[in-house]
Every structure is written in structure tokens, then in C-alpha cells.
Symmetry: C4
Subunit: 207 residues, 4 copies
């Protein structure tokens, strides 16, 4: 969705071109996912408070998924902004991430049908875990091609948030069959962790 021009003062415009393309493609796919999430919202059946109340759990689940995608969008942008070189493995790491994210809307719809059933929560956790693994793979591929002393390499020297997310999603998957509320708490905790802006990249940009 975004056109990111090669900065006219960029000494390596031919490299940036690749990252811009990847970013535009990813933005488009993530906007698509947001579209489908919002499209799945259904109006209350009658113009009554009882019908409105019936829709509240579904609205909270929408909020969870909206934040999930918004956070990936935000962090993905930060990541690609700090990137100057891409490679084939970066491109396919990114595609792998987008594929898992594209399954979020249909899982959200499944969750909404019965928010207390264990299996949909487990599946949501598995896909969230796969997306987090794909993001980790993507970050590593980017650092490999840009070098550990590059801006992106220094910026994510310790990917603490990524590691905590992986653990929380794994807990959510295991806990779902015992209590779905533990899993929801894990999902919400990951959202809150990532809501804090990632100052590492901001600092890298400002140098």
C-alpha cells in the first residue's frame, strides 16, 4: 500500500529498490488481512441492547486480531526501514510470514463462532506461533545479508520481544485444552509487549 521512494541522497539506490518493493507487497497483503477482519463483523440482529450485547465478545476478538495485525505491520515497517540489502531468503522468509498472517481472519471468524471452544484457540495459537517463527527467520535472514555491524544488525542485537512472544504463544497452544482464558491472556500479553514502540530502530534511524 505504500510507495517508498528511493531517498535521493541514498548512495545505493539499486539496493533500496528491493526493500521498497518487499515493503509495498507486504503492506498490501496486511491491508488485505485488515479488510477481511473488519468485513467479518456482523451488525446486531435487532436494534436492541440485548442484540448489541450478543456482539460484544466478537468485537473484543476483533480488537485482539486488529492489534495483532497492526503490531506486525508496525514492527515490520520498522524492520524494513532499517534494512538496506535484501536477498532471496529474505524474500521467501517474508512470504512465509505473510502466508501465516493471511490465515488470521478465518481463524478469527472461527474463534468468534464459539470463543470458549479449545480447538479454535489452539489453532490460533499455532498460527501465531508459526508467524512469530517466520518473523524470527526473516529478521535473521535480514541480519545475515546486512551484516551484524549494520544498523539493523546492531538494532536487533538481542531480539528479546521476539523470544518472549515465542514462549507465550507456545504456552497459549498448550494451555488451550486446559483453559482458553490462559491462552487469551497470553495473546493479550504479547499485544501489550509489542505496543511499546521499539526504540531500537528509532534510534538507529536518527543517527
Amino acid at each position: 500500500m505504500a510507495g517508498h521512494p528511493s531517498d535521493p541522497s541514498d548512495p545505493h539506490p539499486h539496493v533500496d529498490v528491493g526493500a521498497g518493493r518487499l515493503e509495498a507487497f507486504s503492506d498490501a497483503v496486511m491491508a488485505v488481512i485488515m479488510t477481511i477482519l473488519a468485513l467479518e463483523l456482523r451488525p446486531p440482529e435487532d436494534p436492541t441492547l440485548a442484540s448489541l450485547a450478543d456482539r460484544l465478545p466478537g468485537l473484543l476478538i476483533y480488537l485482539l486480531s486488529f492489534m495483532f495485525i497492526a503490531i506486525y505491520w508496525n514492527n515490520h515497517h520498522h524492520l524494513l526501514r532499517a534494512t538496506t540489502r535484501i536477498s532471496g531468503s529474505v524474500m521467501w522468509g517474508n512470504m512465509f510470514l505473510l502466508f501465516w498472517l493471511s490465515l488470521i481472519p478465518v481463524l478469527t471468524e472461527w474463534l468468534r463462532e464459539d470463543p470458549r471452544a479449545a480447538l479454535p484457540v489452539t489453532c490460533f495459537g499455532v498460527v501465531a506461533l508459526c508467524a512469530a517463527i517466520a518473523y524470527t527467520v526473516l529478521v535473521r535472514a535480514i541480519v545475515r545479508v546486512n551484516g551484524p555491524s549494520s544498523l539493523v544488525g546492531m538494532a536487533i542485537a538481542s531480539d528479546r520481544k521476539g523470544k518472549i512472544s515465542l514462549v507465550l504463544y507456545a504456552v497459549a497452544v498448550v494451555a488451550a485444552s486446559v483453559s482458553v482464558w490462559v491462552s487469551y491472556a497470553c495473546f493479550a500479553t504479547v499485544s501489550v509487549i509489542w505496543l511499546v514502540p521499539d526504540r531500537r530502530f528509532v534510534r538507529a534511524h536518527d543517527r
Copy 2:
């Protein structure tokens, strides 16, 4: 949906990059909302004038929501154009605005099912009020980070339109249980107010 390049003559391109990203993200989400609005339109059931007439109230409600989103898109663009610095609170103020806007399509669909019922009109008013509050919060966060003597600070020294909108939406929420037509009149009045282009930012740009 839009790629807004860093202006080559911008002395602080690394700051502008952030505003461009925010703008691209917001444009994409607002385009998404437009998609869903238009998607909810249903063709008349039969190829007859009576069926066509049945669809007219729904078409007017579509026009109202189309203008609602178009105006936010327009003003949001003006606002971000005049912005050179963003911060974490700007980013989350913006996300807060987008979340409320993303609920407009499902409320539009609810309105269309029974345009005279009070509750859907009240809810539309509440969400419009929340969006207007979020916009006000966003504007304040932007002025705080750019300084009151910046272009954006001077341009919106007195945010008269914003304040009038807040009052009209509050009136619409209260009036809905008495007469939905008063509420519709409030919504239409806000649209007309914002239709007049905001010359403050145009002037700020031209300096």
C-alpha cells in the same frame, strides 16, 4: 495506499519517513473501510422501480458514511502533510482513530436494516464521537511533538471545526432516543462543515 516520498528539500528526511509510514498505513485502513461500505450495497431485488425505491434510504445512508470517511481521509492527509515529527503517542493516537473508523461499516449496515430505530443511531453517534475525540487527541499529540510555533501548531491554533463536531455528535447521541431525524441532521451538518476545505493547512504549505 499512498507512498509519500521524503521531500528532497526536507532538511530532516529521517523524521519525515515516520510520518510517511503513518500516512500510508492510515490510507490503507481507510481504503479498506470504503471497500466494505461499498460492498454492503445490495442490488434491488427485482428489476422494477418499486424495488429500486426500496434501496434509496440505504443509498442515502451509504452517501452519509462515504462522506464521513472521505472527510476524515481528506483532513487526516492535510494534518499529516503539515507534520514533520511523530512520536509514540502520535502513533497510538492514530491507531485509536483508525479503530473507531473501522467500526463505521458494520454500524452503517445496522442503520440500513432499520433507519428509524433509535439504538443503531445512538451507536453510530457514539462511535463518531469516539472517532472525533481520537482525532482531537491525535492533533494535540502532533502539536506537542512539533511545538506550538511549528507549521502544524500555528495552523490549528484554534481547532474550531473539531470542537463543533464534538458538540454535534454529543447532541446526536442524546437526541436519538427522542428523534432519529435530529441525529441525522447533526451528522449531515458535521459533513457540510468539514466539506469546506481547511485553508489553514493549505496556507501553511504554501509558505
Copy 3:
């Protein structure tokens, strides 16, 4: 959907910014319309040739509307490319055009339900006529603000295609109640006329 950067060699970058914003907004809305058109296509009911044949008239109507929007997209881009100044009346002329275009998908769906019924064809013609009038209004507003001796002013000194389209759409509206095939022939003729690239703007660009 497109980010059109201010050309670094542009002597008036602050003016071009406005046209870029308008273009990005319009591209996004037109992509939205394409989405909905393609989304309305339904697979054949059974995996048989008879079911496939049932879908053919609908596919032809899809092709007609796909071309209709593609041509507006193409010409709109040519027009805005040649534009350096915009005004409030340009912005609202554009919004007026987009509103009419956004009604095409629902009319396409209505046409598909009964391609031989007169009323849907009449309505399609009326909306196509309104869109063509809006485009003419938009072109005039752009020429007014850029001056008749500007690139865009010279390029569209005689807007022959626009005038022919207006006449053909008016004929289609009147003819629908007699024979829908005359109307379809008018729509197809307009498509073919606009398919020929508009060399006026290409030449203006190359100077």
C-alpha cells in the same frame, strides 16, 4: 494505491503534493471498486459444462465493467499527471466522480441477475452518464486552476472523446426501454473509443 513522489526537479513541489494526494486517494477507491467487481463473480454451481455456460453472460458483464473502471483509472492517471495545481473545486469534482464510480459494482450485480431487463440497464446508463459528467466537470476545474496555456490546458483543448461518451451514454439511457442491446452496444463503443491511448497527454509529458 500509488505513491507519486514529487519529482525532485519540480520547481513547485508544494503544489504537486496536492495532486499526488488526490491521485493516491482516487487509485485506492478505484482498486476498491475492482475488488468488489471480481468478488461478485460466483463459481458455476456444478462441475459441468452446462453450469459453466450459465455463467458466461455474467462473465461478459464483468468484462464490460472491468474495462469501464480500467479506462477511468487509465485516463484519470493521464489527467492528474499533466496537472500541477489543484483547488477545492478540483477535489470535490474528483470526489463526485468517485462516488458515481463506486455505484458500478452494485449495478453490475443487478445487471447480472437479469441482463435483459430494461431498468437495470437504464440505471447503469444513468450512473455512467453521471460519471462522465463528473469527469467533464473535473477536467474543466483542473483547466481553470492550471490555465488554458498550461500543459493540461493545451492537452485537452478539445475534449472530443468526453463529448462523444456523453452522447452515447444518453442514447443508452433512452434506448434501454426499447432494446437493451442498443444500450449494451453504446457501452461497448465507449469502451473501444477510450481503449485507444490518449496521445495528447503522452505528448504533453514528453516535452
Copy 4:
């Protein structure tokens, strides 16, 4: 979805503008197609493993179509990046390609209804073949206008992948009435072939 700025060091910025417009239009339409593909996914009917298993063939078909569009997006971007001049025949070759791609979602939905029926597989193959022919026509039109000694001309001197794809799609069309699994194997093979990044354009860019 992407705005591709005219490269500031480009000696012919007025020519590149055309390629950027074409790319933005194409990106938007391909994002639209991705939207519809993901939108067609349906959640399992019940929160049980049996219902989840029922959805697996549909998910694999989604993966096939996701890769199909992702690969066109990727290669189309590489192609247009290496292009400096466009013409009327390039524009309509591109539109011809996009039209065939826009039929993929409805065919995917048809496939998913009965993955073993021959006719939907045949139709998918015919549309894939038409898209591949359109891509070949587009490549030829681009080489014709840019000259065989241009970057794009040298880069695709031998379009081996394109030719192999054409043959495999033709085999898939013929084989579907005998065994749909042969056809699926052909589709999967084409995906794998194109997954390998096209180093020709990467090299051309780096010069």
C-alpha cells in the same frame, strides 16, 4: 499498491513515470486478487478436529493460488523494474494479463467445491495458460519498445521459465480429463520453478 518514484538519477524521468503508473495499477489489482482468495476461506463448521480436517484440501488449494499470484507479483515487479519505456501495446498486454489473473479467485472457489472434478481443473489450467501467454506477450512488447540491447532485452534474452510454464499448463489442460492429479502436479511444478528468484533481473539492476 506501490508508488515507485522516478529514480532521481534516471536520465529519462518522463518515461519512467509511465512504468511506475503501470506498476501501481498492477500491484493494486493483484492485491485485490489476494484479498478475494483469502476471503473465500471458510472456518471449520464445528470446533472439532474432524471439521478442521474437512478444510485441509481447501487450504492446500488456497496455498496453490496464493503462490500462483505471489509469483506473478514477484516476477512482474522484476520485469517492470528493468523497464524504462512503455507503449500502448505494453499497457494493453498488461491489462490482458490482469484480466486473466482476476479470474483465479472464482476458479479457486470452484476447485474447492469438488477438487476431484475434471472441468474446474481444466478451466483453471486454461486460465493459467492464458495468463502465461499474456505474460509472454507483455514481455515481448516491453522488449520491442526498449530494444534487444536494453537491460530488460538482455535480461530475458532466453525466456526459458516462461516457455516451460506454457508447456506444463498445456499438459495440465489436456491431462485433467484423464487424471486431475497430473494437472495438480503440473501446477505445483510451475510454482517451484518460479520460486527460484530470477537472477537475470537482479544482475541487470546491480550494474
